[in-house]
């Protein structure tokens, strides 16, 4: 009897030792996470969805983002909350006859939107296409030669701000949605990083922050908005917002300003006197992958 009791207590002791050792090893294995948790404040962890925050709560968040930019990037920035304007529906058009594939649009986007320098990220991808063909399979987005090449034309692709956006449908936490003026946005502080939207997008328009962006302090664009070009956290999705921090205040998107050939047209679809309305009325206009029913707000046209 006492022998078996001894046996049981020895077993119990061994098991306790094993469990302790296991727990210690587990804690050790997960140590890198503990560091991240320490950096992540309770406030940030519990932050509400953009559309649920009161103006006062949002104000606190905006100041915190500014403080984070100073701490992590050494940059003095100003982060605003810019809301859609009444009576405005944005649309974009691009003239394929005059685009020369110089990719200054992509570069301007890169700088305006505080993209990661190391990967040279941009929301715009320019395809070099074979003249006489619309088969993207014979296009090339990684060309590295003088442009324009004879026999080629160039097709920049960015977010099409679809009216029936598949990316918004699939998001399991409503971290991405379509705003009243037609711009599809992301709450970078709500996204869980599942990348389902990236899989759903037919235009390769979404970009994931595989790690925290790297930008030298002097290159950070300090004019920022919560839903557009503020420096994105690691592990979340981002996308083109038609530069809403500019366009909602009456300015033009950075890609349009950078275009040397005037291929890009941007404006309010509800304004009959706007240039975009003139293009839609007078040019032969088409959209990409119309058959998918995404109803893009980004239009392409040729002069002839």
């Amino acid at each position: 009897m006492s022998e078996s009791q001894d046996f049981v207590s020895r077993r119990t002791m061994l098991k306790t030792a094993g469990a302790t050792l296991g727990a210690a090893a587990f804690a050790r294995a997960l140590a890198p996470v503990a560091e991240v948790v320490e950096e992540l404040g309770a406030e940030e962890f519990l932050q509400k969805h953009y559309r649920e925050m009161t103006p006062a709560e949002l104000e606190v968040v905006l100041r915190r983002i500014e403080a984070d930019a100073l701490e992590n990037y050494g940059a003095e920035v100003h982060v605003r909350d810019v809301r859609p304007r009444e009576g405005v529906q944005f649309g974009y058009a691009l003239n394929l006859s005059v685009c020369i594939g110089c990719r200054r649009c992509a570069d301007a986007c890169h700088r305006e939107n505080n993209h990661d320098r190391r990967t040279n990220q941009s929301y715009i991808r320019v395809l070099e296409m074979q003249q006489g063909s619309f088969d993207m399979e014979h296009g090339d987005a990684t060309y590295d030669h003088a442009v324009p090449q004879p026999g080629k034309y160039y097709m920049p692709v960015q977010c099409q701000q679809c009216d029936n956006p598949p990316c918004v449908d699939v998001c399991p936490v409503e971290a991405t949605w379509k705003e009243r003026d037609g711009i599809v946005v992301v709450d970078y502080d709500w996204c869980i990083g599942c990348r389902y939207c990236e899989a759903a997008c037919p235009y390769h328009a979404r970009r994931f922050n595989w790690e925290a962006p790297e930008i030298p302090a002097e290159e950070v664009n300090p004019d920022q908005a919560y839903l557009s070009n503020r420096i994105r956290p690691q592990g979340v999705m981002e996308k083109c917002t038609f530069c809403l921090h500019r366009t909602r205040e009456g300015r033009l998107p950075a890609c349009l300003e950078a275009c040397p050939t005037g291929a890009r047209v941007f404006g309010n679809l509800l304004d009959p006197s706007s240039e975009i309305r003139w293009v839609l009325a007078n040019k032969r206009v088409f959209v990409l992958k119309e058959e998918l029913g995404t109803r893009p707000r980004f239009f392409y046209f040729f002069d002839e």
Binding site: K15, V33, C171, C194, Y203, G235
Partner: protein
């Protein structure tokens, strides 16, 4: 009645303590097995922690191929969980008594596989700290529009149903009582329909994306089910043979025969559906076939998946031949090799062979290849090790008590 209700407050904690004791008690082989699995799981945990801290750039994924090994494994283990139902149907719908004695093995497999599936989703998140955004009522649950929210519902629901059934049956055995069919048979019936839905929803996750022609096919959900009903039984037959060897639990021969009979059909249905998709793609050609062409033959010098998929085809064909020739099926060693082959074959076909070509070529028709990084392999191995730990513990706790049951008394 009062005393009976009160007694659960005492006996249930006692039952849990007893379960914990027997889960951690065993011979040298058991400790060696569990220590080995713990070591692999810890390596995986550390790899995941590193990935969370430094970012998912440590994986082989990119904006072009945004899902990789994790989601490939997720898809496969959901099928494994659903495949467990192939024991439940004979046991409860066809009243197969021998199957009834071992059906709990299938239900426990479902539990272990579901835990793995949930973990594979968690390790794929860029911001796991924000998981609570996905909890209904607390976060913003995009139901019923997002298929991913449906998946959260069906996976967790299936896990709870199986935990309830197994937990209830084992607890009743512990108390020495006959389980009351009212407390588990309805849940068993629900679990049969639920198993189908679990894998259907997972297929719709991909099949619903219009921008990905490789996945955008109505055949995807039937294909998922067929392959689940191949891998589930394959794993269970192997598992039952191991249980027979390393425990004193009585495993009758007829459940194994039944599972093999199921596989004879499903392995052919699965191969036929793969063939039907290959035919549609290649006979038509053009843009519809690009992903299939990349997968089977490579494209513009990019051939990352070609050896994978042809190994899968060979393994599946080999397995089918062994299963369909009765003389070969009777040779246990050969049968086991075939089952392992089929298991690995479907793991490739439904994992890397399904997820990766969905992204190659990309939606702008670029070809960017994907190779899993060492971090991804470590995390994946860690989750598989953890799944095997869960399964081992569950069997270890449940089987001795299930065996003490009076035969067939719990017939529903």
């Amino acid at each position: 009645m009062q005393t009976k209700a009160d007694s659960h407050w005492v006996s249930y904690p006692r039952f849990l303590a007893r379960a914990l004791w027997s889960a951690t008690d065993g011979g040298v082989t058991f400790y060696a097995w569990m220590t080995g699995l713990t070591a692999i799981a810890l390596v995986g945990a550390h790899a995941w922690a590193t990935q969370v801290a430094q970012g998912m750039a440590l994986t082989g994924m990119s904006d072009h191929v945004s899902w990789g090994l994790y989601i490939a494994n997720f898809t496969f283990v959901v099928g494994l969980a659903a495949g467990g139902v192939m024991m439940v149907i004979p046991a409860y719908l066809y009243r197969d008594h021998d199957m009834h004695d071992v059906v709990i093995v299938g239900e426990l497999l479902a539990i272990a596989a579901l835990i793995m599936a949930l973990l594979f989703v968690v390790v794929d998140l860029g911001r796991p700290d924000r998981f609570w955004h996905l909890i209904p009522l607390i976060g913003r649950f995009h139901w019923p529009i997002s298929m991913l929210t449906w998946d959260v519902v069906v996976l967790n629901g299936y896990l709870l149903i199986n935990l309830h059934i197994c937990g209830y049956l084992v607890y009743m055995r512990y108390l020495g009582r006959t389980p009351d069919p009212r407390w588990y048979v309805p849940f068993v019936m629900i679990s049969i329909a639920w198993a189908i839905s679990v894998h259907t929803v997972t297929a719709f996750l991909y099949g619903g994306l219009g921008g990905r022609p490789f996945w955008n096919t109505a055949l995807l959900a039937p294909r998922f089910l067929a392959s689940a009903f191949v891998t589930g039984p394959a794993f269970l037959v192997l598992l039952l043979q191991i249980v027979r060897r390393v425990t004193t639990f009585r495993v009758p021969e007829s459940p194994i025969r039944t599972l093999i009979a199921v596989m004879r059909v499903t392995v052919l249905v699965n191969l036929f559906m793969v063939f039907a998709e290959v035919f549609t793609a290649f006979y038509t050609g053009g843009a519809h076939a690009t992903a299939a062409r990349y997968l089977y033959f490579g494209m513009h010098g990019a051939t990352g998946l070609v050896p994978w998929i042809w190994s899968a085809v060979a393994l599946n064909l080999f397995g089918a031949v062994v299963l369909l020739v009765p003389a070969l099926t009777r040779r246990t060693a050969l049968l086991d090799v075939a089952l392992v082959g089929i298991f690995v074959g479907v793991w490739i076909e439904k994992g890397m062979g399904l997820i990766i070509p969905g992204f190659i070529p990309s939606t702008l028709h670029e070809i960017v290849e994907y190779v899993p990084s060492l971090i991804e392999w470590r995390v994946t191995a860690g989750i598989w090790a953890l799944g095997l730990m869960v399964l081992t513990i569950a069997l270890k706790v449940a089987l001795p008590w299930m065996q003490t049951a009076p035969a067939h008394s719990h017939d529903g």
